[in-house]
Symmetry: C3
Subunit: 427 residues, 3 copies
């Protein structure tokens, strides 16, 4: 299966913050990640300032005019129904109906995405063109939905590594038929997790999380905060990874965590024309992960960032907006991010002064004008390996590609000239 095919398969499902759509989606993902655990938190659970809501089920919803013509049907596009709509079966004049309709004047052909999770109301979304064509008269509004005490469902996959320290990769799984924001997130994360699982070994443990946005991240933090604060050294929110228009970087609140440094390094190296946003432009679960007192090192690399492209949160953010190429590029870029996190390390030289590299075959044995500088990268790496800077920081300082620094560090470690230090400070 390609990323795009997975996205196609997940696309029609009516997801929300609770209910069968999330579970159905996670079951499909589990076919690719058999170790994925599908977990539940009961409705009514207090999580910090929030309470896990009741489950919402939507079986049917449509709108008919007084001639019995069906104006819109939830079965055709689940965006037609306002998320968490209460049940209704009523006939009402168009004037009253208008208060329950949502459309976008500036995008006359787009059905907007609207939800009302925490206040009971009902409504339909439709294109502005269709709305303006509605004739006066009565309409029959039917929503066959229900609420029940149940649970919030999320997925968690722990891919163990040599160290207890973790990289947190989190995405949200609560949007219905919307492709870039947000199905591209779970899709790319799924393929990245599959790749991570397939590696013979990993230095770090990887914590892959699929939750509904906001309430899911909050309840996940409520359950796991102590462990996350102790273990997470870096992490990312996976979202908006499917189109090919641009690349975007959203920093963590701290702005200079390992996640930030790696994200900037990879973007600068591979797609230098990316857009840097401010943490003030945030809009996803970094709002929770980076909140005061939580303070996890979570950043985001995205393609077209939520809120910045016209199709965002409308029916135009569809299977035509994202591409297999776009998804695969994002996957590749995140593999590079993981690669750097895995290979990054902090070293300290084992001897004072420069080591004698010549006797170890690491330095030219003859000194001519031409040999000068050939080992500059190696010598500069040694000069800064004082245990206070990691390889990524040294690579940027000495202006040498990170991978070359890794290779050089490995040669020096093998020559017993470098000792690896425990990274003390995760940010």
């Amino acid at each position: 299966m390609t990323p795009y095919q997975l996205l196609e398969r997940l696309f029609p499902i009516n997801r929300s913050i609770t209910g069968q759509g999330v579970e159905e989606s996670l079951e499909i993902i589990k076919t690719l990640l058999p170790a994925l655990r599908i977990l539940k938190i009961p409705s009514g659970t207090q999580c910090f300032d929030w309470v896990v809501p009741e489950e919402w089920y939507a079986r049917n919803a449509f709108l008919e005019d007084d001639s019995g013509e069906r104006i819109l049907d939830f079965k055709e596009n689940n965006l037609h129904l306002v998320g968490y709509s209460t049940p209704i079966d009523t006939i009402l004049p168009i004037e009253e109906l208008q208060e329950h309709l949502y459309s976008l004047e500036e995008l006359p052909d787009a059905i907007p995405y609207v939800t009302s999770y925490y206040k009971k109301r009902w409504g339909f979304c439709l294109s502005d063109r269709q709305r303006k064509a509605l004739k006066p008269g009565n309409y029959h509004a039917v929503i066959d939905s229900s609420f029940k005490k149940g649970s919030l469902t999320y997925g968690e996959l722990i891919i163990p590594g040599d160290k207890e320290q973790e990289v947190l990769l989190s995405t949200y799984i609560c949007h219905p038929s919307l492709a870039n924001d947000n199905l591209s997130g779970p899709v790319v994360l799924t393929f990245l997790a599959e790749w991570l699982s397939s590696l013979p070994s990993r230095k770090y443990t990887y914590r892959i999380v699929y939750t509904p946005e906001t309430i899911g991240a909050i309840s996940y933090l409520h359950k796991n905060l102590e462990q996350l604060k102790k273990r997470v050294i870096a992490g990312f929110i996976f979202t908006c990874l499917g189109d090919e228009r641009t690349w975007s970087y959203l920093p963590s609140r701290n702005g200079n965590t390992l996640s930030d440094r790696v994200a900037k390094y990879v973007l600068n190296k591979f797609v230098p024309a990316y857009t840097t946003y401010s943490f003030l432009d945030r809009g996803s679960d970094e709002r929770q992960y980076c909140s005061p007192g939580v303070d996890l090192p979570i950043a985001s690399i995205m393609r077209s960032k939520y809120g910045t492209y016209p199709e965002y949160h409308t029916s135009l953010d569809n299977l035509g907006f994202v591409t297999d190429e776009g998804l695969n590029q994002s996957l590749e870029l995140y593999k590079n991010v993981i690669g750097i996190i895995e290979k990054n390390a902090t070293y300290k030289t084992t001897c004072l002064c420069e080591p004698q590299l010549g006797k170890r075959g690491l330095y030219p044995t003859i000194s001519t004008k031409k040999t000068m500088g050939t080992t500059k990268d190696l010598m500069n790496l040694i000069a800064y390996a004082d245990g206070s800077r990691d390889l990524l920081s040294i690579a940027e300082h000495i202006q040498v590609d990170f991978d070359i620094c890794v290779e050089n560090a490995e040669r020096l470690r093998e020559a017993t000239l470098f000792n690896m230090c425990e990274v003390v400070n995760k940010i």
Copy 2:
């Protein structure tokens, strides 16, 4: 009484660092600030490296040519007499007289302001035009002045607030008939103090000080240093606040105290085209208040800064140079400064993760493309309310008007989502 009327009333008085001019001026100010205390420090008191000088009284002073024509008279303009002149009654040829005359070639119509506090001498100031018109011959110089052991007089007004922490507002009261530098300072401070006293309550205690420049500030510090160092969280020197030409900012020695941050915020907001000086350009009592070991957080907001305008320290810095409008603008700006200091506070969120604002009516209950961002200012305030930054700092970081941050913080405090923190660090 308007600020300009107070300035007019104080203008003709012959003030110096001691003597009846200061006391007379303070008595006039006391009619507006009945709680003002007029205090004295005896001549001869050692204050750090200085000794409070004897009181100087000048009753009469004039210069006549040998035809008996009066060339200049202290009663017409007290700038004619060099401050702290010793008594003299002598006839001397013009050649000898010249050594006792002061004028400004570059401002031929201006009488300069000259003093000699700590070295006994006598002299007259006059316009260069007048000086050049002096004919050869003998002149009769008369100065009826005297010195006596007495005291240095200063004014102090403590306007109590809810907290012991203080804002120090200090001005100097030693210049004779000079309007911008410096009568505008005491005048604006008097009206500000009147307004402060009229407020139903204040968070901070306000310490209003009128002293002679340099020796007054030094002796005031000598008497109150321990208390000032313990209590003062912000403060300003009031001077050069009367003209309408420009706005100026002189930082504290530290450069980033609360005083500096508030001054820059208010200037940027209301009069962004102001001039920023360096602490190296200082010239008033911040020289004492910010000196090493004293280190109070004292900055200045001014109109045309002392030393930078041609009329400075001459008879041209007169009632025509300052305006009621200029004085009132300065007063209003300083009210804004006080307003920010009073409203500034440091908060910490009471819950981990974002709070659920919707259930408190602080967040839209429906999520559409249009509702996104409407609560951005509120959410950004919450995101930085970690107890380490005050509202002013957060306002600048999230690029939201300070007053909106204050309102938002208040709503969050009322909703029990924000706790106020004690400000630990005054700078």
Copy 3:
């Protein structure tokens, strides 16, 4: 003797990292610095990661063609022989000979400088023009060299000062007939040491070191590390000080040590158009002195920096490349560097508030518009003399010449208004 004459005298000697050339050169220098101690470290001594090599002696070396014509002779130019060549006396065809020849295509008339200290090999260096004129056939290669257990020789001169704290001035003495890199270094350092010795007194102790590059610095550090780390407050590598083309600055690894600050101040003042290099461009014994764990505050001021001029490490870096003027300018500049280090100090005012300078004759006794600002430099010095900044730092902050700050500080010290503080932090 002028610096250039000393350089001329040292030029023909065949120096290497060991052997009689170094000792012979040091003996000549000792005629100018009688207190110079010539010291030895035995071959085979382990110094950190290195072992002091055997001594190398080269008595004779030449190359003849099969007609017996001498192609090159070590006695004509000691660059013809690869440093540390093993002995050989063999006839070999030109094809085999080529593997033992070194020349520079881009500089067809230059004999390159080549060494092979730690791998046994033999070889000749010659101009590319000469090499290309070699005819086919056999050649007679003769190198009469030998190795023996002996020692590494270095020179050390301690010029005592009032304080135990030291300034380390180090140069290398291992290059054969090469003028700018590096004979200019020992030559300028010798005349500077002579001047330092001639001073009636010095505040700091001066440690003058002449060692072979790399192995010499490493073995010197191995022997003296504890003392150096405890005592050295500043220091410089002396090299490339003989030409007149340009000025260069190479920072220490830290980049902001006293050495760096003084170097930049002196260069900015006297030769502002100098080139600033990065520590990444280093190439001499700062590689050892600044290595992690050693961390001495060592920078370099140079003329044309090693590696940057075409003549570098070839026979063109000869007596025509350097000049007496160039050497003397470097000497003068370094005298200025020493002058600043000697005169630099950290002061703290002895009174709170500004002192009363008038009663001490340090301030005008009359205050007119013209007297304002005349003591600005003095007052600004006082305002920052809080014991946390040295004079050099204050001079730069208040934008006043360092020498004026020194004079003013001295006047204030004499007036008992300034106390000198011990410098706690050497960087």
